[in-house]
Amino acid sequence: MKVAVVRFPGSNCDADALHAAAAAGAETTYVWHRSADLGGADVVVLPGGFCYGDYLRPGAIARFSPVMRAVAAHAAAGRPVLGICNGFQVLCEARLLPGALARNAGLSFVCRPVTIRVESDATPFTARYARGQVLRMPVAHGDGRYVADPDTLDRLEREERVVFRYVGGNPNGAMRDIAGITNEGRNVVGLMPHPERAADALLGSEDGAAMFALAGVAAGV
């Protein structure tokens, strides 16, 4: 399995994500945002950070980077894409996931461990978790409040596309405590918490490691 981590100007969790993927046994590569292809990767990770300085809105400018056409094609082909934090914001701006991430309700940048519950194990990134499993990992964002119109929220719930929910406290005011969602095809997942920062016992939690150990994704599939 080959994992590509996309680097935008302002990405800052790229090395952590690459490390977590490598630790999970994947072949790894960085892909610069100006690249028009993904280097033959099976899985794409859009990492955390502040691409383009969050100008206009987080993710708004990154969406037009050449690599995003390749990411959209990869997603349309049903292949796995994971957006973490800023990567989640980019996926929403690119309309690969519904809704948007708005300024935290409390206005403060929130950087601390949170507890989330796995609501769906039907994605490649959560197949190794059990539904209902509770995970501990950090958030680090100023714009993490998931918002969408009521119809979209109802649809996400009805189709079991809410993948993670905050439990025991919602750090940003996200609607319906949503921490992560997936697309209709279940192959694109975005979440605000940082699994790559909880992928090794040295970091205080290994709960995120399994997100990088994709079951059933073979090279070339």
Binding site: A102, R103, D149
Partner: protein, 86 residues
């Protein structure tokens, strides 16, 4: 082709909580401004562009709003004006 300045106002949608507006409302109250109610904080964008006519400039500016300047999930936009620019 002529030069135009398009002025766009982007505001958080009424259904979306605006914590910045709430904080500003609170601060105005603290400063002693009586009767301050709801405050909403948005963004103003000015775009200088070349177009054949003012209508063409307006059409271009509206497309920019739809595609980039506003996020339709969270924001509404108003094209406040398109005027000739030097």
């Amino acid at each position: 082709m002529s030069r135009f300045r398009a002025r766009v106002r982007v505001m958080p949608r009424p259904s979306i909580l605006d914590p910045q507006g709430q904080a500003v409302s609170h601060a105005l109250g603290e400063l002693g401004f009586a009767g301050v109610g709801d405050v909403r904080v948005g963004r103003a964008v000015e775009v200088l562009l070349e177009a054949a006519t003012a209508d063409a400039a307006r059409e271009g500016a509206l497309k920019m709003c739809e595609r980039l300047l506003a996020n339709p999930v969270t924001e509404d936009y108003v094209l406040e004006g398109v005027e000739p620019a030097p």
